[in-house]
Symmetry: C2
Subunit: 333 residues, 2 copies
DNA sequence: CTGTTAGCGCTTTCAC
DNA sequence: GTGAAAGCGCTAACAG
């Protein structure tokens, strides 16, 4: 049944029915009530496609993820998606999922009101431009690096990883550690050495391992670091993600090292897994619900043209759990 | 720019342009080529909403997940979603994500061509009916239980958990185990006791624990089972999910039990995690890519009206890894 | 093979 | 406060 037939049954014009259904102020309360009741009764609901065409809005937001990226463990992704969906729902939007594993022809881009782009290490400005049809579709990019150039109609939620890392390093130094190992993912652009130096820790190149994404890769990297001779073996490992850290925990255990008595391990992201590993991971927490909320609010504001593009920086914080302890006595200098 | 203006610039009628863009056979090759080139050049692309209204199709498939369900670890969900998206993409469909954590008013259901419903323990037939608008929208339900009643226009991909469980139990029995512990999730309807009996294993009620979903819950359940007096302590634990099994592994290790020398552990689902735990989990594998492919093909066939609702049963298979071994000598009878 | 035109089902002016 | 009618931008049936 379409609105014409429905209106006919109610002896009303389609205009009135439409206004009632859209909660417009011009209809009398009784009429609105009557229309709503009848719609329920007769099982009438409007054709979304027709509304989309008439209004130019679909209430759809596309979540665009890179296919394989370091920070995105599956848990991270799901936790973020849940947060986004909740906020989106509160604003009347639905989430369209693009995991980035298929190359669509530019022709049949779905009609979305906006995009949330989760940036990976390889996401370029030109990717963003083509996704947003050169700024025609409002978008929010979630990234851990500061945007070098701003695209039109594109906001940024920048996750300031440094803030939490700095806290972690401070804490690590306070615990007496001198030799830090760093298991990093694929992102080449971080200045961990400088940050470490800032708290008096020396991070030499041999103690930095480019690991990747998976727990297995974290395991291998940690093995390599922990198999060094005792006097140059790091007493604490910092990992770019919790998944890598979980692998590091396994590696330590396989080598018969106790955590944190023999070696401390610090993760990053604070996904659910972090608290479940044993010992639970001290980790640098990204407040994902708050990332999701911020991103979605920037986006809905732009869609509603309440405001233009903006940049929000969210800091990360250290969550202290059992995997970080004092430096072993033997390694105190 | 809309199709009218675009056609005008090409000195063609909108009909011809539309046919060329839709790859219809009635246009000459040169015209089609010309239209395609010009579209690219002038940056013209059709308004999806107008197409949706005119064709009655959106090329959108809604992925409906229960909010919190036992089988669905985040990894399981993402692996399934990736598979679905790949197959959907190959058929020209996009995926709309509904994680089920917001209650939408029935009024603004998005316009989708079909649904994939991941059934949880609490998903009822009436849930399915309301999601599909009482069979008006084609749907495929992915479930591990056999549907009691069929909804109209609704196909089923049933994951036959029993097949793999039977294999696992056979293998467990062959390894000499007598006392089996079972860590189950929230789904009350399984006949593990009967299945165990089928291979000569006795599964008494005390050795079945209703755990839940999380790794922590698996840990607790395993602790409870493994803390029993030696002569009644199970020598092998079977878990309903890999996440629970991962918790069980932790519990065993905390109790100083070696896996599999002192206790064997078997998981379920074969998510990526299973191979990464140490020792890697023997687990009952659900071939998620194949679940995804089957579901999506059933759905696209129904959408295209190539075929009606159907039921496909996919079996599970045992993947043998390090966490399952022979029964300890002391426990041989 | 191409042009013309009638819908698709709604929203939204514009009258009254 | 309500009705009538003009779009929204496309597809597809119908002529030619």
């Amino acid at each position: 049944m379409n609105i014409t037939e429905f209106a006919k049954r109610l002896n009303l014009s389609i205009g009135t029915v439409s206004r009632a259904l859209n909660d417009r102020p011009e209809v009398s309360a009784e009429t609105r009530q009557y229309v709503l009741e009848k719609a329920e009764l007769l099982g009438f609901s409007r054709n979304p496609n027709a509304r989309h065409l008439a209004t130019g809005r679909t209430h759809l937001i596309q979540l665009e993820c890179p296919y394989n990226t370091q920070i995105l463990s599956d848990q991270y992704l799901v936790e973020l998606a849940r947060g986004l969906e909740t906020t989106a729902g509160a604003h009347g939007f639905d989430l369209l999922l693009h995991l980035g594993n298929h190359n669509k022809s530019k022709a049949d881009v779905p009609a979305v009101d906006g995009l949330i782009i989760v940036a990976g290490a390889e996401t370029t400005l030109s990717d963003i431009k083509s996704l947003t049809a050169y700024g025609h579709t409002p978008a929010v990019v979630i990234s851990d690096t500061y945007p070098t150039e701003l695209a039109a109609s594109t906001s940024y939620v920048q996750i300031d990883v440094q803030s939490g890392v700095r806290d972690a390093l401070k804490q690590i130094a306070a615990m007496g550690h001198k030799r830090l190992g760093y298991i990093r993912s694929d992102n080449p652009s971080d200045n961990m050495t400088d940050l470490a130096a800032g708290v008096g820790l020396v991070l030499t190149p041999e103690l930095i391992i480019q690991a990747g994404v998976s727990q297995q890769q974290g395991y291998n990297a940690a093995l390599q670091l922990l198999n060094r001779p005792r006097e140059s073996r790091p007493t604490v490992l910092l990992s770019r993600t919790d998944i890598l850290a979980a692998g590091a925990v396994q590696a330590a255990q396989h080598l018969g090292l106790r955590i944190p008595a023999d070696v401390s391990i610090v993760g990053h992201d604070d996904i659910d897994l972090a608290a479940l590993v044993s010992p639970p991971l001290t980790t640098i927490s990204i407040d994902l619900p708050s990332v999701a909320r911020t991103a979605m609010e920037l986006l809905t504001d732009m869609i509603a043209e309440r405001s233009g593009p903006a940049i929000r920086v969210l800091t990360t914080t250290l969550i202290v759990r059992g995997s970080l302890g004092r430096v072993p006595v033997l390694d105190q200098r």
